[in-house]
């Protein structure tokens, strides 16, 4: 391997994260869960909608986190999987009159397959090259959705309007609140499954590949299989997030799933802390609320203000929310002594 190649493949290396540092302690998890369950009872519908979006993007960031933080592969193409999931749900709901809850597993399975297939050629690429290949996928997706061939189902540029589900069993809650709790339940399920996945044999195989591919294969890990599997799992979860997003926003259109979304998700992962799953929700909050804050500071320079804020975060806490959490943990431990 030449020196130049070395530099390129080394550059995006992810710092190894010990397994137990990937999750939160039980106590903290319960506090966060209680906050997520109770908060909607005290706020307006609009805030509930924002919290739903927060969870949805958190799921998408979590998916990317499994791929990058877990198996060490890069992707700027998550928006494509998100779009496929969103369209799958929307098309099934509007054209096949399927129940919204049933469309999510289908969206997940289709995206898993899509990600798994895309993972095959991606095997030959690593580091920045893989990032570029996935980037191509993200830029191609909005145009593919506009193709006349699919227009009967996708609605072309016009997109599809999705009907928002009412709360079932005559529960006395608004559509927004029901959708929030529904999303929360799905998110918790996927979060627990992801944590268990990373703690399992497969998770250890992912991390072995991330840390050293050659060593992993020497230990008997099927590198090709696990790399594509990571892509599939990540795409599947992103697809479920996309489906939920379509239901919450009540609309899908090609312009909603551009490369900007992929970059936002990537940003969310870095801000939340690469490889730290609970950071996904912090990263998601960053990509939803910080642009609004930036706009509040200056309308004309909102992009620049956002840039400055992002720069500050990366400069002060390069490991994102994980670092902040560690510092807090250290302080609490000190207080206890």
């Amino acid at each position: 391997m030449s020196a130049a190649e070395d530099v390129v493949t080394e550059a995006p290396a992810v710092e190894a994260v010990p397994k137990r540092a990937m999750t939160l302690g039980l106590g903290t998890s319960l506090v966060v869960l209680a906050a997520l369950c109770l908060a909607p009872l005290f706020v307006k519908n609009f805030i509930i909608f924002q919290m739903t979006m927060l969870l949805i993007y958190a799921l998408a960031v979590l998916a990317l986190n499994i791929l990058t933080g877990g198996s060490g592969q890069f992707s700027l193409g998550q928006s494509a999987f998100y779009a496929v999931g969103a369209y799958t749900s929307a098309i099934l709901m509007e054209h096949a009159n399927m129940n919204y809850a049933l469309t999510l597993p289908i969206a997940g399975v289709i995206c898993f397959a899509f990600g798994f297939i895309f993972g095959q050629p991606a095997l030959r690429l690593s580091g920045v090259y893989l990032a570029l290949a996935t980037f191509a996928l993200a830029t191609a997706m909005p145009q593919l959705l506009k193709l006349g061939f699919f227009e009967h189902w996708t609605g072309g540029v016009q997109g599809l309007v999705v009907t928002k589900p009412d709360a079932p069993f005559g529960l006395p809650m608004s559509q927004d609140m029901w959708l929030y709790y529904f999303t929360l339940a799905v998110s918790i399920g996927i979060y627990i499954a992801s944590v268990n996945l990373l703690k399992s044999r497969s998770g250890r195989a992912f991390m072995a590949i991330r840390d050293n591919e050659i060593a992993a294969s020497a230990m008997g890990v099927d590198v090709a299989l696990y790399k594509t599997l990571a892509f599939g799992v990540s795409a599947g979860i992103t697809g479920v997030a996309g489906g939920l997003g379509a239901i919450a926003v009540q609309f899908v259109a090609p312009d909603g799933y551009t490369i900007t979304l992929a970059i936002s998700l990537f940003l969310g992962m870095v801000v939340g802390g690469v490889g730290w799953l609970p950071g996904s929700i912090v990263g998601s909050a960053f990509i939803i609320f910080v642009p609004n804050i930036a706009e509040g500071i200056s309308k004309g320079l909102s992009g620049a203000v956002f840039g400055v804020l992002l720069f500050l975060v990366i400069f002060l806490v390069p490991h994102g929310a994980r670092q902040v959490a560690m510092i807090a943990q250290g302080l609490i431990a000190k207080l206890k002594n």
Partner: protein
């Protein structure tokens, strides 16, 4: 004793006066919905200040400046306009989030001039179910003129279909029997034009239109389509394209030494981004249609409307580029809203705003062409439906003929 009764009388009198004052205000019928009160009217708006369509953000800035001017002059019927505008980045999910914020958190009276067909489609159902007016949307799709199914949504600019109908009407009158070829973009934008043209020709459509050629936005160049159209030898070429392809078409026909009568959409009629790149010598004699005055055109220097516009720009938006069509657009749209709010008087309910928006009669904002008038009714939710033909000469457009109307409703 005396003092007690005096107090009683005083109290009684006060009560009477208070009652009179209350019934007085009731008689004046001041009615408000969320977002309006005695001193303020809250107007919400979303614009792509960032993202792929950020060039249109100037429209929002112009509207903001316009309402500042209105407020400096004392507001509308004594109430200040509080214009709240957010960035949606031309992304439908963000548009939904921002509009919900406007309605549920900022509690605006109306959502005014939201830009882009995808964003407006995304918020239409929500606003109609909440019964919040979606006033004067900034898109040319035809579907906004649908008072029956979406009584809380109203358009503003002429729809693509109306414009196409106007071309067809003009051709039938000026060039009867001409063989027409259509080049259109294969999406809802292009298809709207195609439909409008066919409707305009009516039963003559089949005999007049000899060719319909479509291209995909993803194609790098459309030269081969032009060559194909030339082989069919039509007399008229209708160019229903976005700016980049418009410039390519005009250039390619010139290169082929072919001189059909060319009509290009208003969308691609920009001198700076279409005519100049295509080459001014190639663009001579190309036709199009317009509904607003061009800020860069010297023929409007003494026009009273445009003088007001320039005065406004100099004071509230110093340094703005006057060739930017968005400045003309934003001013006209904001003026239309101001007119509607003025017509509402003291009845600032959402239902009344919608009613007044649908009862504009011959209203002429300063920046629209003379003869182009805004008319709406309970069944006509397409405010501007007139355009005037224009011909490219030298380095600018020259208007000719009468304004032509192409009013249509969605079925």
């Amino acid at each position: 004793m005396l003092s007690t009764s005096t107090t009683r009388i005083a109290a009684f009198t006060t009560a009477v006066i208070a009652f009179a004052a209350m019934s007085g205000s009731a008689l004046a019928q001041k009615k408000y919905d969320t977002g309006a009160n005695d001193t303020e009217i809250k107007v919400g708006n979303i614009m792509p200040y960032s993202g792929p369509a950020s060039a249109y953000g100037v429209i929002g800035k112009t509207e903001d400046a316009y309402f500042k001017m209105i407020n400096d002059k004392g507001g509308i019927n004594g109430r200040k306009v509080n214009f709240v505008t957010y960035d949606d980045g031309y992304s439908p999910p963000k548009a939904v989030e921002q509009v919900r914020k406007l309605v549920e958190s900022d509690e605006v009276l109306v959502v005014f001039n939201p830009l882009g067909t995808p964003s407006n489609t995304a918020i239409q159902k929500y606003l109609n179910s909440k019964k919040v007016p979606q006033l004067f949307v900034a898109t040319g799709a035809t579907k906004w003129n649908d008072a029956k199914n979406f009584p809380w949504t109203i358009g503003w600019q002429p729809s693509y279909q109306s414009e196409a109908q106007i071309y067809a009407k003009w051709l039938m009158k000026e060039k009867p029997g001409a063989k027409v070829a259509i080049l259109y973009q294969n999406d809802d934008f292009g298809k709207d034009y195609l439909k409008g043209t066919k409707d305009g020709f009516g039963d003559k459509a089949a005999s007049s239109i000899i060719m319909e050629e479509s291209y995909e936005v993803s194609e790098p160049t459309i030269d081969s389509h032009i060559v194909k159209i030339k082989a069919a030898n039509p007399d008229v070429l209708l160019i229903y394209t976005t700016p980049k392809f418009g410039a390519q078409t005009i250039k390619k026909t010139a290169e082929l030494g072919w001189k059909p009568l060319q009509i290009i959409t208003n969308v691609s009629a920009s001198v700076g981004s279409v005519m100049a790149p295509a080459g001014f010598e190639n663009a001579q004699g190309v036709l199009s249609a317009a509904y607003a005055k061009d800020g860069a055109d010297s023929q409007w220097n003494n026009d009273p409307g445009m003088k007001k516009w320039i005065e406004f720009l100099d004071k509230y938006m110093p340094g703005a580029d006057k060739t930017d069509g968005s400045l003309v657009y934003g001013y006209g749209a904001a003026q239309t809203l101001a007119k509607v709010l003025e017509m509402c008087g003291d009845d600032l309910t959402r239902a009344n705003v919608m009613k007044q928006a649908a009862s504009l009669k011959d209203f002429t904002p300063d920046t629209l062409l003379p003869g182009v008038k805004i008319n709406t009714s309970a069944t006509d939710f397409a405010p501007i439906a007139q355009l005037q033909m224009q011909r490219f000469k030298g380095q600018k457009w020259e208007l000719f003929g009468e304004t032509i109307s192409g009013d249509i409703a969605t079925e």
